[in-house]
């Protein structure tokens, strides 16, 4: 704990121009954190997580000044026929962004309001100590507001770039996405770490979907072997709204996505899925909570992991159906392929149902590639490597097929085959 304490003192000194309001928020959050401390393996939700790489090492803070990004990096990540927003260390880069027609229907603001206070505050909600740390150290982040009555076919591509040359950095960010009433949009967020240095990134997402609106949200994270990435994603849905998300995670020393969806309206549809690709000593966790707080809504979950070498995956999914939430339909599925004898998967699907007229199911399966299927393909003249790739791509397809925009699907399939080419 001494590392983090000296970290915080340094942070306050280097941020001494901030308003009293935010300084108080930071101090309160930090004091609270010092009371609860880091989670340990004794905590039910952290029993598979080795946090020593976060708690023992010293990480410096990212620059608050905007860093120059090569246009080539942007070009390498560009998606055809999309709008683009670029954030560098959490700060909006207007020059690299391309908003064109959408600019009339979108507002992008800093997460800090005019008084210096961040718009998000989940410290009350969060029993998670990293949310307290996020409030103590937040330096970047944005509010993205999509107008009411606005239907957009082209996707909005958000590039979250971390760029800082220091040997080890930590970055705490808060993002708020607000979708107005009767609107529809697809957002693909891509997290890019330019410097392959030690990284600790801790992000709180707040996603608000108003009545009759649809948000399709794809999160693509490719992390190198020294990345520790924690995402706390809070979603709130109002009547007749739809939230679709695909979380694509490729690699990372420690990646954890905590997804908490509160269905606070009727007739909502929630479809969350994930594809995690792990190799080496990668460790990826998805903890999901879907809470049906009103009747007549559907939710589906499909999380798939492909694990090679001595990697480790964790899936923990909880669906709760509150007393009044009659006529809820909820399915939860977790399926995993182990490509190596040393790979490990922990799966824990859970249901808590307090209403009586509901239809809920959950299931989990982990196994190796089907030997019979491999032989079948080989007996048709397809070589062993291609046979394995076909099976793995086929396994992943159930998730990638949920993406309806071709340019994004192509991008994901490209990343998947790139990963496969390295493994097989």
């Amino acid at each position: 704990m001494s590392v983090i304490k000296s970290n915080f003192n340094t942070f306050l000194q280097t941020h001494d121009s901030e308003s009293e309001i935010i300084r108080d928020l930071r101090k309160n959050a930090f004091d609270e954190f010092m009371k609860v401390g880091y989670p340990t393996k004794k905590h039910e939700n952290w029993r598979f997580t080795d946090l020593s790489s976060l708690t023992k090492a010293e990480y410096q803070f990212t620059n608050r000044e905007i860093s120059k990004i090569d246009r080539e990096i942007i070009d390498n990540h560009s998606i055809d026929n999309s709008f683009r927003i670029v954030f560098v260390n959490g700060i909006f880069d207007t020059e690299l962004s391309e908003l064109r027609d959408i600019s009339k229907h979108i507002a992008i603001k800093s997460i800090f309001d005019s008084s210096g206070r961040p718009t998000n505050d989940f410290t009350e909600n969060g029993k998670n100590p990293f949310i307290l740390l996020n409030m103590a150290f937040v330096t970047g982040g944005n509010v993205i507001e999509i107008d009411s009555n606005y239907i957009e076919d082209k996707p909005l591509h958000i590039l979250n770039i971390i760029h800082d040359g220091k040997d080890s950095i930590q970055h705490h960010q808060q993002n708020l996405i607000q979708i107005g009433k009767n609107s529809q949009i697809s957002i693909i967020e891509e997290n890019v770490n330019i410097n392959k240095k030690e990284l600790f990134k801790n992000t709180v997402y707040n996603i608000q979907i108003d009545k009759n609106s649809l948000l399709s949200h794809i999160l693509l994270q490719q992390n190198h072997a020294k990345s520790r990435v924690l995402n706390h994603i809070f979603v709130e849905q109002q009547n007749n709204s739809t939230y679709n998300t695909q979380m694509i995670n490729i690699g990372g020393d420690l990646v954890r996505n905590d997804i908490n969806i509160q269905i606070n309206g009727e007739n909502c549809d929630t479809d969350i899925s994930g594809l995690s690709l792990l190799s080496g000593k990668d460790h990826i966790e998805n903890y999901t909570i879907i809470s049906h707080n009103k009747p007549n809504s559907n939710s589906q979950q499909l999380f798939k992991y492909i694990l090679d070498e001595s990697s480790e995956g964790v899936f923990n999914g909880l669906v709760t159906v509150q007393t009044d939430s009659q006529n809820t339909d909820s399915q939860q599925t977790n399926k995993n392929i182990l490509l190596s004898k040393k790979a490990l998967m922990n799966s824990n699907p859970q249901l808590e149902i307090y209403a009586d007229d509901v239809s809920c199911s959950h299931g989990s399966a982990t196994g190796e590639l089907d030997e019979n299927a491999i032989f079948y393909l080989r007996s048709r003249g397809i070589d062993l490597m291609t046979a394995k790739s076909l099976l793995i791509e086929g396994f992943a397809k159930e998730v990638t097929d949920k993406i309806k925009i071709d340019s994004i699907k192509e991008k994901l399939n490209f990343e998947l085959s790139k990963w496969l080419a390295k493994q097989i």
């Binding site: 019979n372 032989f375 080989r378 007996s379 048709r380 003249g381 070589d383 791509e393 086929g394």
Partner: protein
């Protein structure tokens, strides 16, 4: 005439259990051989060993295919050189589209033979013709390999793959099981159309029914991992009438 496949004194086991106990079969180009026998006699093991499944250990004997030692080749090399097995239980491969799979298989073979790979348009016109021959619906092309297929659909799919991949030696492992009479006729027609004086078949079945439609040149009866009798097509009728027991007695 040149020999295509020569199996000599073949012994094979699975997890230490001997299944094949000395098989000798010689197949020439254009010949149709049938292997008949009860369940558990080793018929499917023989089919799988010829195709290269590594579930079985060959403990003795050899298989010569044209001028090659077949046992040295991987399953895919065997396929590329013209061996095809219609599986008794075809694998279900979710997420892999039939069109994609069959095009990949066909082009692997064309490439191996030094032929130009087919583009999507040429492949589609070929596959549509073959679908028509087997009275299969074009919706097949959009489905995953064998996923949600009925027993009969799976068997039709095997024969579709056979006529598309054009093997020299096709092993049909219980292709008739689970088929109603109409489906059986369609599949038999597909097989008979493919017969030529170059293409050979090894038809595995335990009923004579299929052999009414696909007339064999030679029938072998397998009991407990051995061929106990070989003869002409009339042997099937004898088996239908007398069963296998009279041959079992002969063995013991």
């Amino acid at each position: 005439m040149k020999t295509m496949l020569e199996i000599k004194n073949l012994h094979a086991s699975i997890e230490g259990n001997n299944i094949l106990k000395g098989i000798d079969i010689t197949i020439k180009p254009g010949e149709v051989h049938a292997i008949m026998g009860l369940n558990g006699s080793g018929k499917s093991t023989l089919a799988n060993v010829i195709s290269g499944s590594d579930n079985y250990d060959v403990t003795k004997g050899k298989i010569q295919y044209n001028d090659k030692n077949l046992l040295d080749l991987s399953p895919e090399e065997r396929a590329l050189q013209g061996i095809f097995m219609s599986f008794q239980y075809p694998a279900v491969i979710t997420g892999v589209n039939n069109t994609y799979f069959l095009k990949a298989a066909l082009n692997a073979k064309r490439k191996y033979r030094g032929k130009v790979e087919l583009d999507a348009i040429d492949f589609m016109s070929l596959i549509k013709e073959n679908l028509k021959m087997l009275e299969m619906d074009e919706s097949y092309l959009r489905r995953s390999v064998n996923a949600g297929f009925s027993g009969g659909e799976k068997k039709r799919n095997e024969i579709l793959q056979m006529i598309t991949l054009e093997p020299k030696l096709a092993i049909l492992d219980e292709t008739d099981s689970g088929l109603d009479i109409d489906a059986l006729k369609i599949i038999a027609k597909g097989i008979n159309d493919y017969r030529s004086n170059e293409n050979s078949f090894l038809v595995i079945t335990h009923y004579q029914r299929l052999l009414n439609y696909i007339e064999p040149d030679i029938i072998h009866v397998m009991i407990d991992g051995k061929i106990v009798k070989s003869g002409g097509k009339e042997l099937a009728l004898t088996l239908e009438e007398k069963g296998y027991r009279w041959l079992e007695k002969k063995v013991s």
